[in-house]
């Protein structure tokens, strides 16, 4: 059997593998959003812009300081995390007692400003960032050539997702975090510094976005608009998975990447829409998302 419903199997497998790669980007980005929403109740619209900042930091490090990909993988998320901490300290902190909408509007405004700044500095055409030497070339999977770099993206993303899940679900720090989410007053009464934890969580969440930015830099032009193209899809992923659900965001990210890949085989024109069709259906059947809890 060389085809499946008229689709040649090599083409199908190829698109599924690519869907998985994209799904990994979605998974880590939506993971960051889920962590932030779970802890801060903030719908972080600046996530896409900060993902772009991660990629731009990688480019700046290479261009001006000669620091390559591996340095960027550490320094860019730290830089973005620090920016996040400043944002949380100076602005977001004032909004926790208000409706979600205020946080959404503030972060949306920040996203526009950050993107505008980079657009003004570097234009939209973007900057080229080469694939690191260690990952040049491709694996021959029989049905397709998978660039080594894309394989690395899958491995790195899955490791980050697993690490984050482990930290939140299995460590003492994670237990504090979950407790602080559940009941901040009580947790604080036990002597845990909740505001500090909230600040670090936001830094960590956006740091993840910065990390994905570095991972994405060698695969596309590094430019001011790279985040705005992606963020809407990622939000759909979070909504489908269930706002604030870590497992939900990872599983849905990967799953939707695969579904998008399949759509590209069957009807490519709909590949940008399919995620939103699924979102609409999920919201009708399960308003709190596939993995979310009813409140």
């Amino acid at each position: 059997m060389t085809d499946f419903f008229g689709i040649p199997l090599p083409a199908l497998f190829g698109q599924l593998v690519l869907g998985l790669v994209n799904g990994c980007f979605y998974a880590v980005l939506s993971l960051g959003l889920a962590v932030i929403f779970g802890m801060l109740n903030i719908i972080n619209f600046a996530h896409g812009a900060l993902y772009m900042v991660g990629a731009m930091v990688a480019w700046v490090l290479l261009e001006y300081l000669g620091l390559g990909y591996w340095w960027s993988l550490v320094l860019a998320p730290l830089t973005v995390g620090l920016i996040g901490i400043v944002i949380e300290r100076l602005m977001l902190r004032r909004l926790y007692k208000l409706d979600h909408l205020y946080g959404l509007l503030l972060t949306f405004g920040l996203a526009l400003m950050i993107e505008g700044l980079f657009r003004d500095l570097y234009g939209v055409a973007g900057q080229p960032y080469s694939i690191p030497e260690a990952f040049s070339g491709a694996f021959n999977l029989g049905f397709m050539f998978l660039p080594k770099y894309r394989a690395w993206v899958v491995v790195a993303s899955l490791a980050v997702c697993l690490g984050t899940w482990y930290m939140i679900e299995k460590t003492r720090l994670g237990a504090y975090l979950r407790a602080a989410t559940e009941n901040p007053q009580l947790t604080q009464a036990f002597g845990i510094n909740v505001p500090l934890m909230v600040m670090l969580t936001y830094g960590f969440g956006v740091g993840l976005a910065g990390l994905v930015g570095v991972l994405a830099a060698p695969t596309s032009q590094v430019g001011a608009l790279m985040g705005s193209n992606l963020i809407i899809t990622v939000f759909a992923v979070v909504v489908i998975g269930g706002m604030g659900s870590i497992l939900g965001s990872v599983v849905t990210g990967l799953g939707l990447g695969l579904i998008e890949g399949l759509t590209k085989v069957v009807y490519p024109e709909a590949s940008a829409t399919v995620v939103f069709i699924i979102m609409a259906i999920v919201l009708m059947v399960r308003p709190s998302g596939l993995f979310g809890r009813e409140k």
Partner: protein, 406 residues
């Protein structure tokens, strides 16, 4: 006494005539509304650079002709959306007394504004949009399409590539009016020159991941993958084609590329590509002189859209000055009557379908080692004369032409 009376009468008459002449430019001011992509995927190929080029055109015109009417410019971001563009156009024509709307990158916005301009009997001068629909099915008598179109770029690039031996083609196409038009025009040129089209895949606009579409193109086995998209879509397609090993086994043809794309991607990634442009800064002394002035303001070299906009606005202002009126039909008649001669076009002519025909240039992108100075990117392989560069009137689908012919 009699002499005095005659003198008085003559001066009163002269003053009346002169006042009448002034009154013909409404409000004694010409207002240019520049509607373009200021923040999105096309803001580098047009955007602020086009605003600057338009300002240069106005400054140069004022310095040379010292007009006795004021010239104003307003600019807005249409975000590449037809509805936003149409609403802005209405507002500008109705409330801001705008006489002409210019630029209009993205075919959907151009088509939307052309309709509004026709309804309000005002002018539209299009530089950035590409589809041949503007001067075919959707043509009207208040629009001029200035810089290039999908036929012109396809005709130059696709023909050259087929003649180099690239006979079988597969298209990766941006899924909106412009992409469809570019794919259709390119397919026509490929087939007319003895090549064949194996298929096409349409991607949502704007996209960021093209690997799936490249994989389809790869499995088609075509010698040439035609990129019927533009801006960051084209750039990411080229970058990812190298990553997935599509190139150099199969070759890519960027059907609409601008010098800013080459600058952003670098010569290493783009060397040896063919592309068709309506303008190159380093073409002759005149283009270099203008481009240097532009560079001093923008810190980058102009694209053909930006240079073309200067040319279009200058031509428009000269027409207003010549007839001392901003009446749409009269200005249009004057613009059509006068050949376009400036650093951008030599003996350019506006046809009845609204197409400004001028020479186009087939470019070959230099190897990095052959580039001697900043922005030294192209070798001009061929000048395609105006008569061959654009779709001939005999193939026109514009109702205005059919009416003229019959």
């Amino acid at each position: 006494m009699k002499l005095k009376c005659i003198a008085l009468a003559a001066s009163v008459t002269l003053a009346t005539i002169s006042a009448a002449a002034h009154a013909q430019v409404s409000d004694n001011a010409v207002k240019i509304g520049l509607l373009t992509d200021m923040s999105g995927a096309y803001s580098d190929i047009t955007g602020q650079g086009t605003v600057e080029a338009t300002k240069m055109a106005i400054e140069d015109f004022k310095a040379q002709f010292k007009p006795d009417f004021a010239i104003e410019i307003i600019a807005a971001d249409h975000q590449n959306k037809g509805d936003i563009a149409a609403n802005k156009a209405r507002e500008w024509f109705d409330r801001e007394k705008v006489d002409v709307i210019t630029e209009l990158v993205t075919t959907s916005t151009a088509l939307a504004v052309m309709k509004v301009a026709k309804e309000k009997n005002k002018l539209a001068l299009i530089s950035g949009a590409a589809s041949t629909r503007i001067t075919n099915e959707d043509c009207n008598d208040v629009t001029v399409h200035w810089t290039y179109d999908t036929y012109a770029v396809a005709n130059g690039t696709a023909k050259a590539v087929v003649q180099q031996g690239g006979k079988s083609w597969y298209f990766i196409t941006a899924d909106y009016a412009f992409g469809h038009s570019l794919e259709k025009d390119s397919s026509g040129v490929v087939q007319a020159n003895g090549g064949k089209v194996l298929g096409a895949v349409r991607h949502p606009f704007p996209g960021s991941d093209f690997s799936s579409f490249l994989l389809k193109a790869q499995s088609s086995g075509a010698q040439v993958i035609g990129l019927a998209n533009a801006g960051t879509d084209t750039m990411n397609s080229i970058k990812q084609a190298a990553e997935f090993g599509v190139t150099p086994k199969q070759s890519l043809a960027g059907l609409l590329m601008f010098i800013s794309d080459i600058h952003a991607l670098g010569l290493k990634a783009t060397q040896n590509m063919y592309l068709t442009e309506g303008f190159y800064w380093d073409f002759n002394a005149e283009t270099r002189a203008w481009s240097k002035r532009y560079f001093d303001r923008m810190k980058k070299m102009p694209t053909m859209i930006q240079a073309g906009m200067y040319s279009a606005v200058s031509h428009y202002l000269k027409a207003v000055k010549a007839i001392n009126s901003d009446d749409t039909q009269k200005v249009m008649a004057q613009m059509k009557k006068t050949p376009v001669n400036d650093f951008f076009a030599r003996n350019g002519k506006i046809r009845d379908d609204g197409r400004m025909v001028h020479d186009m240039y087939l470019m070959h992108v230099k190897k990095p080692e052959d580039s001697k100075y900043a922005w030294d990117y192209y070798t001009v392989k061929q000048t395609i004369p105006a008569a061959e560069a654009f779709q001939p009137l005999s193939a026109s689908r514009c109702p205005l032409i059919r009416k003229t012919a019959s």
